[in-house]
């Protein structure tokens, strides 16, 4: 078990590697034969002798929360499958890792694809799916090939296909490549895309995937990291696995740190056992020389920003305590209590060299570009917000534009078909709330009543 890692890629002492155990290992390759040298598919062999419901029970006991962004308990999700279902059940692995700041699934896929395949076969057995898809983003062409190869290898060895290991259980996994759209990571958008349509997210109700998913059949959609954990839960037992991490925030998760730190990268840690301070200062080698922390976006670009000098009150009643940004344990519940979210684990560090207007404009650019355009608030609002922050960055905005910006975000938030509305509006809401002064400082009060675009000027000129 004592893995040797490539020089310069050794895990930090505070890491707890389960999912990433084989990432950056010296002499490791993504082949099946390599995977089998360390107990590969042993858990599958164990699983097929279990009652499927017993596997779900273990996942529930483990308290595994989804690693894709929403943090919804995976076992509970599986439990939503209709009890007297007569339709086929599908399982979809969401490998459309697209949230800016997040880069964990690609390493699993590239370096340890069989871990995912084994996790998927076990999960399919648990939920009764005989057909599964890996929906992988267009930007991972190599990952798609690696997965294809892994699936072919697993097929040859009888870990996939008809009558898996003599259990009578059949399963096929297909790799489906996306076409380069963030919205395909939204599970119902993904399902539409898989069906060959535009990835317009579906309204919920009634289209909850567990009841009416792919081809309107019961469907489970889980993130890559989540499905990998199923294998390890089976290995350790749900009870034992749940002792990793902290209560209600069990297991390990991979944090991806980017931005203004000495050593950005991925770190698999026990959930809640590492604080923001430890992550930035110890694991990432601290901020850049001579810089101070301005803000952190803790869970992918859609998470609400945390300001470096904020004091967060978490817990209720007697348990209430105050935290600085450095003290925040990186778990689901605390980050939510701090007004943000653990999201997809993408931690974006922003130091004092950064212009907040520029950062927000960068994020707004992304969401305006990625809005699918199906529903009104997000379609029109995301581009409007981008255009306002474009002007803020260019010095062509007036102070009241910041109020408009905030109001547009609030007209999106909570009023859209899918969570993209929140993803697109939370950055603006939180940046305006926490950095209003800095944004306003980039505006020009003299422009307050000016007509600001050529169109309006032409119209005004024509009125004479």
């Amino acid at each position: 078990m004592s893995a040797i890692y490539k020089s310069g890629k050794e895990p930090h002492a505070k890491e707890h590697r389960i999912i990433f155990k084989n990432v950056d290992r010296e002499g490791w390759d993504p082949s099946l034969s390599m995977y089998e040298t360390e107990g590969g598919y042993d858990q599958l062999k164990k699983a097929i002798k279990m009652e499927p419901s017993a596997i779900t029970d273990e996942v529930k006991k483990a308290g595994l929360r989804g690693r894709g962004g929403a943090g919804f308990p995976a076992g509970v999700k599986w439990g939503f499958l209709p009890p007297n279902n007569e339709k086929p059940v599908y399982l979809i692995c969401n490998a459309d890792e697209s949230e800016p700041g997040t880069f964990k699934d690609r390493y699993i896929i590239h370096q340890d694809p069989h871990q995912l395949v084994e996790g998927m076969v076990i999960s399919c057995f648990a939920v009764g799916a005989n057909l599964a898809y890996i929906y992988i983003r267009e930007e991972f062409p190599e990952g798609a090939q690696i997965l294809e190869k892994a699936i072919a290898e697993a097929h040859e060895k009888g870990y996939l296909g008809k009558d898996i290991l003599g259990s009578g259980f059949d399963l096929e996994i297909y790799v489906h490549r996306g076409a380069g759209a963030y919205i395909c990571g939204e599970e119902t958008g993904l399902i539409e895309s898989l069906e060959g349509k535009r990835p317009y997210p579906r309204i919920k109700p009634p289209y909850f995937p567990a009841a009416m998913g792919l081809y309107l059949c019961p469907t489970i959609v889980n993130n890559v990291e989540t499905l990998c954990h199923v294998k390890h839960i089976l290995e350790a037992g749900g009870e034992e696995w749940s002792k990793i991490g902290t209560p209600n925030n069990t297991g390990t998760r991979i944090l991806c740190v980017s931005g203004d730190v000495q050593k950005p990268g991925y770190f698999e840690v026990e959930v809640g056992k590492v604080t923001m301070g430890e992550l930035i200062n110890d694991m990432c080698g601290g901020l850049k020389e001579g810089r101070s922390l301005k803000a952190v976006i803790p869970g992918g670009s859609s998470a609400k920003v945390l300001r470096a000098d904020e004091v967060f009150t978490v817990g209720r009643g007697d348990d209430a305590r105050e935290l600085t940004i450095w003290d925040i344990p990186m778990d689901f519940d605390t980050l939510a209590a701090c007004g943000s979210m653990a999201g997809s684990g993408g931690v974006i560090v922003i130091d004092d060299s950064r212009s907040i207007s520029w950062v927000l404009n960068n994020i707004n650019n992304f969401y305006a570009h990625e809005s699918c355009g199906q529903c009104t608030p997000c379609r029109e609002g995301s581009l409007w917000m981008k255009k306002i922050t474009d002007r803020v960055v260019a010095g062509k905005a007036s102070p009241s534009d910041i109020d408009t910006l905030d109001s547009v975000a609030r007209n999106i938030d909570g009023r859209t078909i899918c969570a993209f509305g929140e993803a697109a509006s939370w950055p603006t809401e939180s940046f305006v709330e926490k950095f209003r002064d800095e944004l306003v400082a980039d505006t020009n009060p003299e422009l307050e009543d000016d007509l600001l675009n050529a169109e309006a000027l032409t119209a005004a000129a024509n009125l004479g």
Binding site: A181, I183, R198, Y200, I203, P205, P206, A368, H369, E370, S371, C372, G373, Q374, C375, T376, P377, R379, E380, G381, S382, L383, W384, K387, I388, R391, D401, T404, S407, V408, R410, N411, G414, R415, T416, I417, L451, L452, N453, A454, E455, A456
Partner: protein, 570 residues
């Protein structure tokens, strides 16, 4: 809604409790109690994607007590308190639930509407002065009711394709499109011709037609009707008339036996457009393009405007008096067996009753109508392209319409039939009567709206009103009695067929006191058993079932299936 699902659920709307059948959509529950929820994408005949977000309302449910807490107590009306949900819900796709609360006038609901309105208008060109939809545009209407009245949008608007030719009858302005997807759903779900779709994304999304295809199916113009804005416009109607100037007449289509319910839009006696009018027992909300556009001939130069009588090898203008008197003269010396009458299954029941009187009065030995058989298109167009064949059978008493035509031809050829009265038909072009054959007649009268080769041969030519110029009733393919209402006056001296026949009867010695189509209807009600005890007013705008024919309308059957599956409201 089917009878079995009749369990009632109590829902509070704006503070008042009402009961609705289980499965009712929130938006329909509101509508049923007179509360309008503004919407764009929702259409009861199409699936609900919930994309426009205009119908967001504040919604609440009974509180869910935590384990150990006391359950909520019902109030004196037996209802539980409502715990209002901080996130608004779309009223279009969500169904009601017991003890649900809906607020359409609350601060939250108003804020949502204002917000969505502002966003819809942000990139809209606001070119209402030159937009055909102005006056019947949901964007305009809801802006008045729910808009801010001013714009905070200081940016350049998104530019998109304009004046796009998406098909032979339709033009698209992508900048006006609010991406409600009604047209896409219509072509997919109703017309089975899914050629429309969106490309690009976000605010740059454009409605487009599939490369190499066009929106050309025979139901394409329905997309123009359901487009809530001026994105899709009809080539035939665009820029012809502002909608608020037109007079609307509720009537029925006469291009086939379905008798689609329509609205005729006219101004100063000129028809500008026809749109389908909702009737869930006849045509749902739709009609075929071929029928909708078949009205321009009404103001054709070939319309007959005055009675004509033969003068040597020509016709000359005559007064009605002269034309009728000439006819009476010619018929006077003939035995009934020498007279044939060919009426039309395009006539109203009232005209047919008058025809039957005329036939009796003259003792005419032969009577028939001209059948028009086509193919049922599998949607709304009936195989029978005559609108009132059922009326012919009921009122004129023909058991097998069209079966006597050959006998009449033979009779003329053999000289047994000496006079022929052709009412509202074109025998040469539509019924295979040769000009030579008709020339053998001693006397030939024809009435028709248009000049035609049949009229060339006739001794007396009478200008008949067309369907849009007359009032009456017809019985459609399913046996439904429906009203035809006069939308415009006929040109010149035209008369409705019943008037012509009344005058003929009078001139040939039979008196009657008929002064209006509704008077004739009273006689129908008195004389034809199927019409017994019916009154004109009873028929209403949507008609009433009169007889059982066993016929169904394919499109309606498919809609019923979709209603049954809960896919659409219907």
């Amino acid at each position: 809604m089917s009878e079995e699902k009749n369990d009632l659920i109590d829902v509070q709307i704006n503070g008042e409790w009402h009961s609705f059948p289980k499965g009712t959509r929130m938006i329909e529950a509101c509508r049923q109690v007179g509360v309008e929820v503004p919407h764009y994408c929702y259409h009861p005949k199409l699936t609900s994607p919930g994309n426009c977000r205009m119908c967001l309302v504040e919604m609440g449910m009974p509180p869910r007590p935590r384990p150990g807490d006391d359950p909520p107590e019902p109030d004196e009306t037996g209802h539980l308190p409502i715990s209002w949900i901080p996130r608004p819900a779309i009223a279009c796709a969500n169904t009601i639930a017991p003890n649900m609360g809906i607020r359409t006038e609350s601060e939250m609901t108003e804020e949502c509407r204002e917000g969505v309105m502002e966003l819809l208008l942000a990139n809209h060109p606001l070119d209402c002065p030159i937009c055909d939809q102005a006056g019947e545009c949901s964007l305009q209407e809801f802006s008045v009711e729910h808009g801010k009245g001013e714009s905070r949008f200081r940016e350049q608007k998104v530019k998109k394709p304009k004046n796009v030719d998406v098909g032979p009858r339709i033009r698209l302005d992508d900048e006006r499109c609010i991406m409600c997807s009604r047209c896409i759903r219509f072509t997919d779900e109703i017309a089975d011709d899914p050629v429309l779709g969106f490309t690009d994304r976000g605010s740059h999304t454009v409605l487009t037609v599939y490369p190499g295809r066009e929106l050309a199916n025979n139901y394409s113009l329905n997309t123009v009707d359901i487009c809530p804005v001026g994105a899709l416009t009809s080539n035939d109607f665009r820029f012809q008339m502002r909608v608020w100037f037109m007079k609307e007449t509720k009537t029925i289509d006469v291009n086939c036996a379905t008798g689609a319910n329509i609205t005729v839009f006219a101004r100063e006696n000129k028809i500008y457009r026809i749109t389908p009018r909702q009737n869930n027992d006849v045509n749902s909300d739709w009609m075929p393009d071929s029928h909708r556009l078949n009205f321009h001939w009404i103001e054709s130069d070939a319309r007959l405007t005055d009675p004509l009588v033969r003068d040597g090898d020509k016709h000359r203008l005559a007064t009605w008096q002269e034309a009728i008197a000439t006819t009476a003269d010619k018929l006077a010396g003939l035995d009934g067996s020498e007279i044939a009458v060919i009426a039309s299954a395009r006539m109203t029941n009232e005209e047919l009753l008058m025809t039957s009187r005329l036939v009796k009065h003259l003792g005419a030995g032969h009577v028939d109508v001209v059948p028009r058989e086509g193919e049922n298109d599998g949607y709304l167009i009936a195989a029978d392209r005559n609108p009132n064949t059922n009326g012919v059978m009921l009122v004129l008493g023909l058991e097998n319409p069209g079966s006597q035509l050959e006998a009449i031809k033979d009779g003329i050829a053999q000289g047994r039939i000496k006079a022929l009265l052709c009412l509202q038909e074109n025998l040469v072009e539509d019924a295979g009567f040769g000009s030579e054959l008709l020339s053998k007649l001693d006397f030939f009268l024809t009435s028709y709206p248009l000049a035609n080769p049949t009229a060339d041969i006739a001794d007396v030519v009478l200008p008949g009103a067309c369907w849009a110029e007359k009032t009456g009733t017809m019985v459609n393919v399913t046996g439904r009695l429906q009203r035809l209402n006069k939308a415009v006056d006929g040109p010149g001296q035209t008369l409705e067929a019943w008037e012509i026949i009344r005058d003929l009867i009078q001139a040939t010695g039979g008196g009657n006191g008929i002064y209006s189509a509704t008077d004739i209807f009273k006689q129908l009600a008195a004389e034809v058993p199927e019409f017994a005890d019916l009154s004109w007013g009873q028929i209403g705008d949507l008609g009433i079932p009169l007889i059982e024919t066993g016929e169904t309308i394919p499109l309606l059957e498919r809609e019923k299936e979709r209603i049954e599956k809960g896919l659409i409201v219907g």
